[in-house]
Amino acid sequence: MATSAGRGLVSHDTQKRLQRIAVYLTALLISVFTIIPVYVMVVIAIQSPATTFAGGRVNLLPTEPSLRNFLVLLGSTDTVRYFVNSLVVTLGSTVLSTTIAVAAGYGLTRFDFTGKSLAARAVLFSYMFSPIVLAIPLYVVFSTLGLLNSHFALTLALTAISAPFCIWLMWQYFQTVPIALEESAWVRGASRWRTVRDVVLPVARPGYISAAIFAFAVAWNDFTMARVVMSRDEMYTITVGASLFLDRVSIGWGETMAVSLLISIPPFLIALFLQRYLLQGFSVGGLE
């Protein structure tokens, strides 16, 4: 390092400065690439189409914010019903997936049995699995059982894609929780169940919040399963319902972006308030 001063065309300081500039330039480019689409969505959502498309060009500097697009959504579409459907199946599968994962993760780390690596491979294999390849068999089974177009079926289908990762995450998480904490409770007289309530669940909280966020994101994001399982309009989730908006004459870009903005609210809140749990999930692999 000390020898580089006299070498090359530029001094060491200049090299450092150029490197610094390159770093900031990369950051700037990626920020712009990331922000522009989001910005466009927001602007188009909050001004009326008349303002947006005035003069035959897209006007992207918001001058007259308006709720017109949202009112159209409420007045002439089933947006509210779609949202309710989405919430029902998302919350259902988040709870189901997280519960299964916490129980399995605890059991897999605390009980000894041979074939653990087989279990781990099974979990990982299902974790890599393709939703559409699973959707076809699920459709076949649900249709045989007459379960198509039910919240129950979609909740199961969504849990099917989120649970493997949640199990993997909790499995890894419980490995970081020292068993001495539980043993200490047993020695003090707490039963295994009481220990689970008083010690295990509180200590595992960061883990299962993380798992719940991923389960939520998968279900809220989902289009594939809902498209396959739900075929009646009144059972559509918001992603399936809104995906058909652009085909309608009565709905334009304004309303489309408005519904996009609404769909984006939960992810937005997660990014803002629960970020560290999300990052924790990425440290063991992330999901789809």
Partner: protein
């Protein structure tokens, strides 16, 4: 898997029952029964059922056993290989670009630049935003009539007339790839950032003391630490992109002229447009075995189960 596992669990359970005074057996059941029941109901039964179905011609109306006939028809059809090729192109392009962008940004943010935390938060959005929303954004930006990219390109004199990116033969696949990369680059970013931040800073201190340049430090310290993560991203992300359905379906439905029809799109078309469940389940079966093959390679090469078991 499940029956073997179950018998082993039973053995584990009986060993524990010897001293079961406080509901240990019940706890054992509470831990594993939900997971096993769940796996059997939503994974094992449907997959076995569908594999069975793939052996019949038009299995819904009047099933006729054709053995591997559906598979033979599928693989004998030249179009299949075209769709497979599309899947590979899409998977390789999106995974590669996501990795390059994600790695670049992870290295940048790991430099502790000003605004780094904000940029990290910003990168969460593409990952968390539902695919549908991402499609809407890019459909608007790339729209031939009102899209801002076309507006910009025409204004700048780079093109004479607007391009309908998603419905033009040569642009459809690149447009889908760009849209996908926008959403999925942050996946690689977050995983690589987590790895980068786990590197002991003392290693860099030592390299500096020993006279290593920035590039040498990257080559000898950073890269070796990232290599495992990069391979896993290439593999796992590659598998997911190969099997991606929603983003392509929502942007092009596989068009124009099946230019962007990948295997997942084809499965959907067979099942729900052509209502040919024999062929659809056969294709799903082919994809299942492809995935199983890759998984075997993955397990052999990385032994990821070692992390827990």
């Amino acid at each position: 898997m499940s029956t073997a596992l179950k018998s082993r669990l039973a053995a584990a359970g009986s060993a524990l029952r010897e001293r079961d005074v406080d509901g240990t057996t019940l706890l054992l059941a509470a831990c594993f029964v939900p997971m096993l029941a769940f796996f059997v109901v939503v994974w094992v039964i449907p997959i076995v059922y569908a594999l069975g179905m793939s052996l019949f011609a038009s299995p819904v109306r009047n099933p006729e056993f054709v053995g591997l006939g559906n598979y033979a028809a599928l693989l004998g059809d030249g179009a299949f290989w075209g769709f497979l090729w599309n899947s590979v192109v899409y998977a390789v392009a999106t995974t590669g670009l996501s990795l390059v962008i994600g790695l670049g940004l992870a290295l940048v943010i790991n430099q502790r630049i000003r605004g780094g935390d904000a940029l990290r938060t910003l990168m969460i959005f593409p990952y968390l935003l539902p695919t549908l929303v991402v499609i809407f954004m890019w459909k608007f930006i790339l729209d031939p009539n009102i899209g801002i990219l076309n507006q910009f390109l025409v204004d700048a004199g780079l093109i004479d007339k607007p391009i309908a990116f998603f419905s033009t033969l040569e642009f459809a696949m690149p447009a889908v790839v760009v849209t996908s990369v926008w959403k999925f680059a942050s996946f690689a970013f977050f995983i690589l950032l987590a790895r980068l931040q786990a590197i002991d800073p003392d290693l860099y201190e030592r390299a500096r003391v020993e006279g290593a340049t920035t590039w040498q430090a990257f080559r000898d310290i950073t890269f070796p630490h990232l290599r495992g993560a990069i391979l896993i991203i290439l593999l796992v992300r590659g598998i997911w992109m190969f099997n991606k359905f929603d983003i392509i379906y929502l942007s092009t439905r596989g068009g124009p002229l099946q230019q962007t029809t990948t295997l997942p799109i084809r499965v959907y078309q067979l099942a729900f447009s052509e209502v040919n469940f024999g062929m659809a389940t056969a294709l799903a079966g082919v994809m299942f075995f492809l995935l199983a093959g890759v998984a075997v390679v993955y397990f052999r090469a990385f032994a990821p189960e070692k992390e827990v078991a």
